[in-house]
């Protein structure tokens, strides 16, 4: 997560993260080593359909939530 001048800042799961301009949601998942398919992605408070992952480019200051299922009552 070294800051390079051309990188842009987004927030993922409440943490600051620098990504290359041109990074898609799918690219972000790869960068974060999230391999499991049972995740949901919310972008700026809107759930993103899986079909958009490969197209939707991240923009500066995007707020991303990536969630999965865990044990709970």
């Amino acid at each position: 997560m070294n800051k390079i001048e051309s990188n842009m800042l987004v927030m993922v799961n409440g943490q600051d993260l620098y990504v290359q301009p041109g990074t898609t949601i799918a690219g972000l998942l790869v960068q974060l080593e999230i391999t499991q398919t049972a995740v949901a992605v919310e972008l700026n408070l809107q759930v993103q359909p899986k079909t958009t992952f490969a197209e939707r480019l991240l923009r500066p200051d995007d707020r991303v939530e990536i969630v999965s299922l865990v044990g709970g009552g």
Partner: protein, 286 residues
């Protein structure tokens, strides 16, 4: 009158339960949290043939592909996942959480995808729900097409409001989550059951939270609850698998007892053996 069905398998003893668009033949709904291991959880579900289990939505850990996935330990072909909004403290967050749960479950093609166990908390100490936010979230989720199974307090007035807002099931707490205190106000639970089922006998009321041991689950069912949702009392029992079986029997026993119709309580005794034909007279004044 029940016929020889009584002698059928355990599963056939109790009647099916419809909640929203789904039908359950197992009225014991279990949570997936707090088990010592996923293996122990899976075994507990297997021995009672769990048909519906709750599950939570949480942020994925970043840069950690090593973790085991709970989904690998669930019989996804035969289990309805009921995603919850646990840990949410306002309606907006709970609605977002519900949408994300639905998105994941749709991806899994799970029949629970349109269901949500709505939980909006008001206090981290008591884990009692914030009923005003719960009502607000219920209205929004119903508008968005969710089938809302609504966790709430044992307040009959709020239970009615949640039903009127469109919840497919109202789920009063027997006592605080994880407390094991059982059904602390059976009269309230009875009032909720009677009111919500008035003119709508199949409307499901589920006791959610507070069960400590088998008798608590049986009492909930005897009072007319349609199902019991519990987690801690099984997951944290010394022997979770055995406790799951105990809960299964308790829920079925309680259901049968409710349907059978209990006797009235009376202050004085009523002899079971005939009063006549005794071999000696009863002593005077006794």
């Amino acid at each position: 009158m029940m016929e020889s069905g009584l002698f059928l398998e355990r599963e056939a003893i109790t009647d099916p339960l419809q909640i929203g668009s789904q039908i359950l033949n197992q009225r014991l709904i279990l949570g997936t949290g707090k088990y010592e291991s996923f293996e122990q959880m899976a075994e507990s579900f297997k021995v009672v043939r769990a048909e519906c289990v709750t599950i939570a939505v949480r942020r994925e850990k970043l840069h950690d592909s090593s973790g085991r996935n709970i989904l690998d330990y669930l019989d996804l072909d035969n289990t309805i996942l009921l995603p919850n909004t646990s840990g949410c403290y306002d309606a907006e967050t709970a609605v977002r959480c519900a949408r994300m749960g639905r998105e994941i479950l749709r991806g899994l093609d799970n029949p629970g995808s349109e269901w949500v166990k709505l939980e909006v908390l008001g206090s981290s100490r008591s884990l009692m729900p914030d009923v005003l936010e719960t009502l607000k979230a219920t209205r929004e989720l119903v508008k968005e097409g969710f089938e809302v199974l609504c966790y709430t307090t044992d307040d009959p007035v709020m239970a009615r409001k949640l039903k009127d807002a469109g919840a497919v099931s109202v789920m009063p707490a027997g006592s605080p989550i994880g407390s094991g205190l059982g059904i602390v106000n059976p009269h309230n639970l009875q009032m909720i059951v009677e009111d919500l089922k008035q003119g709508d006998p199949d409307f499901p009321v589920i006791v959610d939270a507070g069960v400590g041991t088998a008798s608590d689950a049986a009492i909930a069912m005897e009072l007319g609850a349609d199902a019991v949702l519990l987690n801690t009392s099984v997951a944290r029992a010394a022997d979770p698998v055995k406790m799951a079986i105990a809960m299964d029997f308790a829920v079925r026993s309680g259901r049968l007892a409710f349907q059978a119709g209990r006797i009235m309580k009376s202050k004085y005794a009523s002899a079971s053996s005939p009063e006549h034909g005794l071999i000696a007279d009863r002593p005077r004044n006794r």
